[in-house]
Subunit: 593 residues, 2 copies
């Protein structure tokens, strides 16, 4: 196809280019007829340039009149100064006085108008994803994503990491209930699995002496998709040898610093805050605290403060080893309706209700509990929360962890309802020292909280032979998450590298040598040939891009996303395949449901 | 795990570091006892450093004596000048006078010694891939690979390409006989396919206005693996809008230039040579000519030269429209045994044998054909080949394409047998102007030679409505390969962007509108909404790395390769999965075979 190729892009020309003869190629984004004069907004990835088509150039004008939206054209003409400047676009000072117009391709009328304020359902936009992607805001997300890749590649290259591809066709693990399986044609009746993460490969790479590994890779989970999950997501995967937790933190913090600097021109404060899992739970009732919430709404344990009151609810809880705790909402008008709404919310979390104390501006206290609590206790509660007049304190009592988690949820609910989040902030925090095991009351056995290669902290090794629930549950792991604005972005650990410690973990969870060998086979072998100390993390890229682009959902950070039902509306997959294809693979679709 | 972390790597210390107190972490690569003095080669990814352990430091010495190969240790000591310098390693001027030695991990005796000249079968090395990867040469290949990724990322970023991930879970295409399928759990009875290439997505991205796309991505083919194929291979995938073939060439040439410059410090001559498919076939009898062959062994068509001889074989061939052609081997001793070997070779290609003319140093000609050919013809053949004394000309006759392909094979065979390849050379060449269709004599219909979006060259559009075999087979496509040293590295085309041209292609291959819609569904729709002119290529990364590293096979360019049977010997996949897993997916393994 022979045509006049562009000399410039549609985002490039400025006043300095005045009088130049140029050629542009692009899409007709908008056409306006202003009393004989035709104006066209010509669009490409780089921007929009206005074309001015004068009726005196009859040939061009006649062609231009027939153009529809989304036609692809090539125009040649002179850059001229615009009469009315458009400050909204980078090329707004100029327009093109068109001399030659060539139609490179026509377009049917699109099913929706391609504009920022798009009026089409999500379904329609996903079906015609190629049209939706023409919108600047969607393209811009992909541009940010591409820039972030490049920052990441450059950053890890500078730090001597090797980028290594790990297999997509791997072995299904026995825990792999959510593995996507791939039938093998060559080995009928056998299957590959798609990786839920390259975990085993990156550990193997450390055993191979690779020292520093990174990869931006796809991970797959065939699970019932919750809001904002995708069957395939992208992970920045890394692993390092001869390191401690601090080394891993430093590398990852540096990466985030580089990304935020280049994309947002923000100098993140590093090192990031650190908080143990216990502290996060006790202070924020969640292991991924959103630290953007103004007024620093925190959980206060007031069990000791209310001890000895005449309130039976509290006394029963305290007697059975439970907890009384609350959070404070500062300086907000809390109406009856608000209280009712919050009560509904708390009931859904399995509580009968909550207590509250409203410290009025006039010094009085409004509370359903005043009749049960002495003035001294009410004053002490106020002191415990450091509450001022016009603050409200919400109180829950019950089993300790349940109370903390509910208060954590209540905190987020208050932040949402009262708009307490500072949306301009990026609050990173490392959550560390997660528990290694928990006791499953039903199964009457200990279970690993993380992958079985996660190492216990040295100071807890003494409990690795204990079977006392309290002692074992107290064991803390060299395991960490990075949380940004309440989202868990990354998770990692320092791995067990000694077979004898690994054995203790298997013993703890009641796994026999045979079972361990069956399940983890070659990995256990591999660790007997000189495994270095090593650790790393997997960092969710999609969420990072969503936060950088100010998107609520990760969908628009992905060029071709799938729906919550794991379908692609554009190419209509998954789809039925022919019997011949299945025969080739030696599988059949089950008749029974 | 608390231990002394390294201050330096094992490849880092030099004479300038003399007397520094340092700590190294690494693997015991070799231990030598020289009359009381212990020497250890300590290895990590970065190199090897010699440790000197003096018996006067009893504690250290006792520990060191117990070390086995592949133990992981931390040592602290002083950098001292070595008495006998080792010029083979970068740290060969120094050694470490060890004061502290800590064993970080032990190792069983490995199943093979980890050394460059490894004495283990391929199978054993693949099973213990993590040990084989500890060998410097294997790690070095991965380092080159990682460096090449970074060069590519940087190069395309500089040229304004967006790196965009396309889905791994996609729709199975009707041509997808070699698709890996993935059963869907959510939509039972339906399947995804793994991409054989991101072709449809990159074209869609051009329709989306992305303008310049690149991705380093995995592609999958469930085929019977020929030598040196992998079920998953890596492709540098790119596509550009508003371009012609020359623009695509320029970008790709620039990429190769950047890679060769940085990895080999070689300035490749760009632009690369170009050769049409017809020229390649007629000159080298193959569409991926190896241009390293010395003496420039080329095919000469001597049909006209031998016309009118009394040789029935030639005459019959010429009468039936066939061809007589040959290649010349210069200045090599061609023995009876060689002739016999080559005859065997040619017979396997479906010929009765071949003719040859050996021009002896004494001026005589040795040939089984002399009795059928006049002296004049023999002289003219010599002239046609520009042959000198001591050259040999090999001649075949038969159907034109068959003769050319056989001579192409013979050329490679001679290059191999007589070591005619200049192994130091990197001979890049673009092969262009491939045919768009061929006529299938059996099916009595035309078939596409490439993917159905490949565009015909403008000057052949006139034949798109013809059904004359000769005319249709003469249609040349905007389709190109890049060939390096006889390997096809990349393949691409300028795509059809006009629905009316696409329709002509479907008509040509006898595909009805309904069938086209069923097979290519949304893609055809997409092209009705203003598709820009666009084109691109897919470039095989594994082979590039193999050539850069001087490897015959791509296996060692991949961290975790599979065997020719598409198995991983390390993690033993593919493998059987549980009935529960299959039930979840709603599939069964066929009973029948």
């Amino acid at each position: 196809m022979i045509y006049k190729k562009r000399t410039h892009t549609c985002g490039e020309l400025r006043l300095a280019d005045e009088n130049k003869n140029i050629t542009l190629n692009g899409w007709v984004s908008k056409k306006r007829d202003l009393g004989g004069l035709l104006f066209i907004d010509l669009r490409d990835r780089y921007g929009i340039t206005q074309l001015n088509i004068h009726p005196s150039k009859k040939d061009v004008y006649d062609k231009a009149e027939k153009l529809g939206n989304e036609f692809v054209i090539s125009v040649t003409g002179k850059v001229i100064k615009r009469e009315s400047i458009n400050k909204n676009i980078a090329t707004g000072d100029i327009e093109i006085d068109v001399d030659v117009l060539e139609v490179l391709n026509e377009s049917l009328v699109p099913p929706f108008v391609i504009e920022e304020d798009v009026k089409a359902s999500d379904e329609l936009r996903l079906k015609y994803r190629y049209l939706d992607l023409r919108r600047k805001s969607v393209t811009d997300n992909l541009i940010v994503r591409s820039r972030v890749y490049n920052i990441i590649h450059r950053y890890f290259e500078k730090h001597n990491f090797l980028e290594i591809e790990t297999p997509i066709l791997m072995k299904s693990t026995p825990e792999g209930a959510r593995d996507y399986l791939v039938p093998s044609r060559v080995h009928k009746g056998k299957f590959y699995a798609l990786p839920q993460s390259p975990q085993i490969y990156k550990q193997i790479l450390m055993l191979s002496g690779i020292d520093r590994y990174v990869q931006i890779c796809k991970c797959f989970r065939d699970e019932d998709l919750r809001a904002d999950r995708q069957p395939e997501h992208t992970q920045i995967d890394l692993e390092m040898s001869f390191v401690t937790q601090d080394d891993v933190f430093e590398i990852i913090e540096g990466m985030f610093h580089a990304i935020w600097k280049e994309i947002k021109n923000i100098d993140l404060t590093i090192p990031f805050k650190r908080m143990t899992y216990d502290e996060a739970l006790q202070t924020y009732g969640i292991d991924k605290p959103d630290l953007r919430i103004k007024g620093d709404v925190k959980i206060e344990n007031i069990t000791e403060v209310v001890k000895g009151s005449e309130f039976k609810v509290f006394n029963d809880v305290i007697e059975s080893g439970g907890m009384v705790a609350g959070i404070k909402l500062s300086g907000q008008e809390v109406s009856r309706k608000t209280i009712d709404g919050l009560t509904e919310f708390i009931k859904k979390l399995g509580f009968g209700g909550f207590g509250y104390l409203k410290y009025n501006a006039d010094g009085t206290v409004q509370s359903p509990m005043t009749k049960f609590l002495s003035e001294e206790i009410i004053a002490n509660i106020k002191k415990a929360f450091n509450a001022n007049d016009s603050d409200t304190v919400f109180i829950l009592s019950g089993e300790k962890k349940k109370v903390l988690l509910a208060l954590g949820q209540l905190r987020l609910k208050l932040a949402e309802d009262f708009k307490l989040r500072d949306e301009t902030k990026f609050e990173f925090v490392w959550i560390t020292d997660f528990p290694l095991f928990h006791y499953d009351e039903e199964a009457k056995k200990f279970e690993s909280e993380h992958n079985i290669f996660t190492s216990p902290k040295d100071e807890y090794l003494k409990f690795m032979d204990s079977r006392d629930v309290k002692e074992v549950e107290s064991i803390r792991a060299n395991c960490y998450d990075i949380v940004l604005n309440g989202f868990e972005l990354a998770s990692g650990s320092i791995r067990i590298n000694k077979p004898e410690v690994q054995k203790k973990v298997f013993d703890m969870i009641g796994m026999s040598d045979d079972e361990a060998k069956m399940k983890f086979g070659f990995m256990l072998d591999a660790y007997t040939y000189g495994a270095p100390p090593h650790g790393g993390a997997g960092i969710g890229l999609d969420r990072i891009i969503a936060i950088l682009c100010g998107l609520k959902s990760i969908t628009d950070t992905i060029a071709f996303p799938k729906t919550l039902k794991a379908s692609s509306l554009m190419d209509e997959c998954p789809s039925e395949v022919s019997k011949e294809q299945l025969d080739e693979l030696g599988i059949e679709i089950s008749k029974k449901e």
